[in-house]
Each structure stands twice: as C-alpha cells, then as structure tokens.
Amino acid sequence: MRSFSDFDPIALTVYFFAAAGSAMFCMEPVNAVISLLGAVTLYVVRSRGGKLRTHLWSALLFIIMALVNPVITHNGKTVLFVFNDDPITLESLIFGLTSATVITAVLYWFMTFSQIMTSDRLLYVFGTLSPKLALVLSMTLRYVRLFRTRWRQTQQTQRALGLYKDDNIIDSIRGGLRVFSIMMTWSLESGITTADSMAARGYGVCRRTSFRRYRIRRADAALIAVSLALLAVICTGIALGALHTDFYPEFTLHSSGALTVLCHISCFVLAFLPSAFEAAEAIKWKYLQSRS
C-alpha cells in the first residue's frame, strides 16, 4: 500500500474531479456536509493541521457566503425576523448555508489537489494529453526562474557601468524599465537560439518520447474505477431525484429510502477514501519502525 499522493497523477486527477464534482453537482445538505468533512479531514491529515490562517479565511468566507443569500433572497414561508423592511426567512438561510458548505468543500478539495499535483505531476498529466503543451508548460516554469536570474545580472551590469541610478524615484523607475527591456530582448532572442538548437537536434522530426516517472498500476486502475463507480451512483441518485431538495417555499428533503442512503454512503466513502489511505499508512509506519 502506498500513501495517497503516490498514486498515478492521472488516477489522482480523476479522483479529485469525482470528489469535488460530487460535492458541486448536488445541492443537498447532507452530501455537502459529508464532502466538507472529508475535504477538511484530508487537508488537515496531509498538512498536519494546516495553517490557522487558511482555516480562519475559509471560516470567514463561509460566514459571508451563508449570509449573502438571506439578505438578497426573500423567498420562503418561515419568516425569522424583519430587517430593513425585508423579511429574513429560514429557507433562504438554509440555502445560503448549503451553498457555503458546497463552496467551502470544493475550496478544500482544490487546496489539497494543488498541494499534491506538483509541477512534475501536472506535466505528466498534460504530457499525455499533448506533448507540445507539456513543452510550453515546462519551458514557462523554467523561464519564471530564469527571469529573476537575468534581471539581477542585468541590473548588476548596469550598476557596474554606472548607468543605473536609484537616488530618486524617477531615475529608479527609468532604470527599472531599461533593465526590463534589456532582459526581454535577451530572453526573446536567446529563446530563438534555443528553438534553433532544438530544431538542429531533431525536435519535431518524429513523435516525441518522454521520460515517465509514473505508470498506471493495478491500484491506480482500481482507484479510477472506484471513484468513477461512486460518482456514477451519486449521479444516478441525482438523476432519479433521490437527492432532490426543495428549498422554497418550504425546506424539504425528498428522501426516497434505500437509494438516498446508498448515495450518502457513496459520498462518504468517496470523501474519506484518501484520509483512510493516509491513516493506514501512518499506522503502518508507526508499527514498522524498529524500536531498539
């Protein structure tokens, strides 16, 4: 068994889109809460608690989003109180809370997703889609760093030549613009040389092969299959109305027995699958350590 982030990036992408998608696709309070709990648990487990600031921001965002709806929408039959001559209704508040839960859940899913999908994993996923795109991606990532180096080199040269003054703000802006211009000309023209060099070595002559760190193993295929199957169950539930929720005029959950329960179970398994992997891995690690 491997920890969750060691799965094949394609399998991870499929999983995250199933997990985030199942949260987004059904505006149903129970599923939303399950998904939010799963997403937060995974984030906390993976980043050992995570930054307090991140959680505070999410909480603030949650509160704002939950309160926007009752202020704007006045549908619903249970009036809680009247504010500025506008009725604030319970139904509208519940809708706001559900919306906020879904959005916060998706935010947490994506936070973990961008943590796991480092640039090499992303490059691999894109490389399978389009090698040329992967090349642009990797060159861009490299140029971002290169710009900084070249900026410094140009600035130092200019300073050594006595051309770069930063006594007053006008001079420093003009100097900065000149350095920027030099750096851009340099990068663009050396880029052409790079391209010519690539062409001279046979780039584009035949189909590119690329080094792959990852390959799809049985476990990866299983993860893809399980995520898609669980997503399919939830989608069936949505299509058959098992997860249908009426917010207005009165808040009602249209539970249709077994299918609704099945959907909630699927959502639970989907949401907590990676946390379970991480937990199992942590336990294994704890017991395999040799104690002298």
């Binding site: 394609i10 985030a20 998608g21 987004m24 696709f25 505006m27 989003m65 926007v68 709806n69 704007i72 919306s99 959005i103 998706v106 935010l107 994506f110 936070m111 997703f113 961008s114 999908m117 640039s119 992303l122 399978t128 889609l129 389009s130 090698p131 040329k132 795109l133 090349l135 642009v136 991606l137 060159m139 861009t140 990532l141 490299r142 140029y143 971002v144 290169l146 710009f147 211009s181 851009m184 000309t185 990068s187 663009l188 023209e189 880029g191 052409i192 790079t194 391209a195 010519d196 690539m198 062409a199 780039y203 584009g204 189909r207 390959r215 799809i216 949505i238 299509a239 249908h244």
Partner: protein, 228 residues
C-alpha cells in the same frame, strides 16, 4: 496507458467534443438537473472548449521558435501577475496575439491562468480564467491589423477586454453561488466587482500604452532578424 498520444484519437476528440459532448452536456444539464444547475454545465463546457482548442493547437504545424516565444511571453505574464493591483496579463496576451497570431494569444492567456494559479490558487474558476484570457488573445489576433496600426483602438480594446474579463468572472461567481443564473445577484456581483473591473481596465490601458512601442519594436525585430 490512458494516453491521447495518437493523432487519430485527437482527431476523434476534435469531432466528438463540439458536435457530441458539448451539446450532450448542455441537453443533459437541461433535462436531468433542475434549472438551478447551470454552473456545472457551464464549467464543463468551459473546460471542454479549452481542451478542444488545445487539441487543435497540437495538430497545427507550430514551429519550435514560436513555441519558445509563447513560453517567454507566458512566463512574463505569470511574473507580472505578482505585481500588486495592476495586472499586465491581458496586456501581454494582447501584444502576443497582435504580433504572433490568435492561437499564440489564446495559448498565452490560457497557460498564464493555468500556471499562475499554482501560485494564486487553483480552483473551479481556472477553466473560466483560461477561457476568458484565451478569448481576449484570440480576438486580438483576429483584429491584429487594425490594432497594430491604430493606437487608440488598441487602448479601447484594452478597456473592453478588462470589462469582458471581469464580467465573465462575475457570471461564474453568480452561477457557482446560486447554482443558476440570477440577474439580481449578477447585478450585485457586478457592482461589488467595480473596484476589480477598474483595476483591470486601468492596468490594461497602462500596460498597453507602456508596452505597445517597445514590445512592438522587439517582436518586429525578431520577425525581421530571424523571420519568425
């Protein structure tokens, strides 16, 4: 391997996405989900159209020189996004599109959204940003000749694309929050986003005015010197 490396598969994808997948998603969205589910449909459509465009890019015989220049410009836009308040992303995209064509512009816009979001946060909004900036580049490429000749028109295009970008992202905000499109919410979202819209418009105009001459010179020089 689950790989779309073969040309045949990409060609199939190119036919399937616009004629089958997008209509199917739209119809399914209308039939299966109640009227409150437009956000997901539009997210799917946005994602699919970006994929569609990128498959087209792969098939075109794009020279490696152009590819490298696109990377340089994308990196510039990514770095530029770190400037507080004023964002030169759209300006860089427009300049690239004018001098290198609409496809390059689309690619710079879309890739900038994708890559810079690794620093600024990925999310379901990424395809929308990719699409919005990509389209700004694509249209600039279509209007390349008048935009290159007429400076006022270029600045007007900067203003329009700033508003276009902001309003596209507002559509996304509204649809995601409510699950459906609510004109009332959209109106308040636009009003709430006025500072952002102003920032986009101002930065587009400022950067286009600043960059048009030096960048035009540089890119023209590349064309003359190396024949790109």
């Amino acid at each position: 391997m689950i790989v779309i490396r073969s040309k045949a598969a990409r060609d199939v994808l190119r036919c399937v996405i616009p004629f089958l997948l997008i209509p199917a998603v739209v119809l399914l969205g209308a039939a299966v989900f109640s009227e409150k589910r437009h956000a997901f449909v539009s997210l799917a459509v946005a994602g699919l159209s970006v994929v569609l465009f990128l498959t087209g890019f792969e098939r075109q015989k794009t020279g490696s020189r152009r590819l490298v220049i696109v990377s340089v410009m994308t990196a510039l836009a990514v770095v530029g996004r770190f400037i507080p308040v004023l964002k030169p992303v759209a300006a860089v995209t427009i300049m690239t599109a004018i001098y290198l064509g609409g496809e390059s512009g689309f690619l710079v816009g879309a890739m900038t959204a994708l890559i810079s979001n690794f620093y600024f946060g990925q999310g379901p909004w990424t395809p929308f940003q990719m699409l919005a900036w990509g389209l700004i580049g694509l249209f600039a490429g279509l209007l390349a000749d008048p935009l290159r000749r007429n400076r006022v028109l270029l600045l007007v295009y900067g203003v329009v694309s700033g508003i276009f970008y902001s309003m596209t992202m507002d559509i996304w905000t509204v649809m995601w929050y409510g699950g459906g499109f609510d004109p009332q919410l959209y109106k308040s979202a636009i009003i709430a986003a006025i500072p952002h819209t102003t920032a986009y418009v101002v930065s587009n105009v400022v950067f286009l005015a600043l960059m048009a001459d030096p960048f035009g010179e540089k890119l023209d020089r590349l064309r003359v010197k190396y024949g790109v």
